[in-house]
Symmetry: C2
Subunit: 203 residues, 2 copies
Amino acid sequence: MDYVKLNKSRHKVKNFDGKKIPTVDVKQIISAASLAPSAHNIQSWHFVIVESEEKREALLSEVDPGNHEQIKQAGAVIVLFSDTDLVERSRDIARLGAGELDDEQLLRFNSRYPQMYEGFEELHESNYLSINIGLVTMNLVLAIKNYGYESNIIMGFNRTQKVNEILEVEKRYRPELIIPLGNSEDKGKPSYRLPQSQIMEIR
Amino acid sequence: MDYVKLNKSRHKVKNFDGKKIPTVDVKQIISAASLAPSAHNIQSWHFVIVESEEKREALLSEVDPGNHEQIKQAGAVIVLFSDTDLVERSRDIARLGAGELDDEQLLRFNSRYPQMYEGFEELHESNYLSINIGLVTMNLVLAIKNYGYESNIIMGFNRTQKVNEILEVEKRYRPELIIPLGNSEDKGKPSYRLPQSQIMEIR
């Protein structure tokens, strides 16, 4: 779909028809989303598609009750994590991308970035990860809409390692957001936006 | 442009032709970007378009030297801030949106959200703001590309109140990112992406 039309028609939708979305669609949506930029191209996001009905049900114990129904009805549920081991991730990229990256890039991922990450303070690292999550999530919800599905972004859950335990995800990953998606007759509606004069200044 | 094509063709570009972009274009780009979702629809972003040559020059004192040239050559420079006064912002939305929001929404922005924000811990609030910044920035760079311009996202600068002083921006706003944009013959190229098996798990 045309980007302008897509951007204007994407609204949060919290009710779905319960029909499962093919995993191949979810994979292609994630593939499109992960073309998002990230700081130093570290791609610190980690997507978990919750296929198991038992795990989806167990996940609800960590989610605010008001968000249960949309997760139950969704055609697919993605739990999005951040990789908190940026030093290791940087080296992983050097290793996995060895065939595609040039020497200078390899040096960065093998040495310069790991050194930089070791110097990050907690608050700074946490924000760095969160900005990257925001970037990829925007692209994710656009890609979902472009595929003909609706979605919502859920922050209302306990972002603790309990989520990792339920989903059997390594502890290096930090839970960030839950994105239910699926078919819906509800196409959502535009949310209120502040007037431009309120969000913009010229200097 | 078609979203898939747009998403695949958007790459970072760090060199521009130096020709100023009309402010009306930048405003329309910001308008498109701000259709991004945000947590509780708080829209905690604040865009500053740096029109003054003196202020653009002064800003360089806070930017890593490696990023100076792209800021100098850009057709426009946007400095993106977060509103750290979420309590006040919530009430601002209730006030400014009074004509469009229903009673339940007004109650939320006037009372429920301010109470919630008062209980936020520093780290949580900071991440909350950063995720919102990531969401709007992804939409911003897509909107820029869709308008026919190129852009880059700069994290490499001192994110301190010195930036507010230089740009004469209220202290309630926290500097987050600098986005230079402009015309360029360089259309960028795809950056390395981790294989999907590395960023995705099915559970």
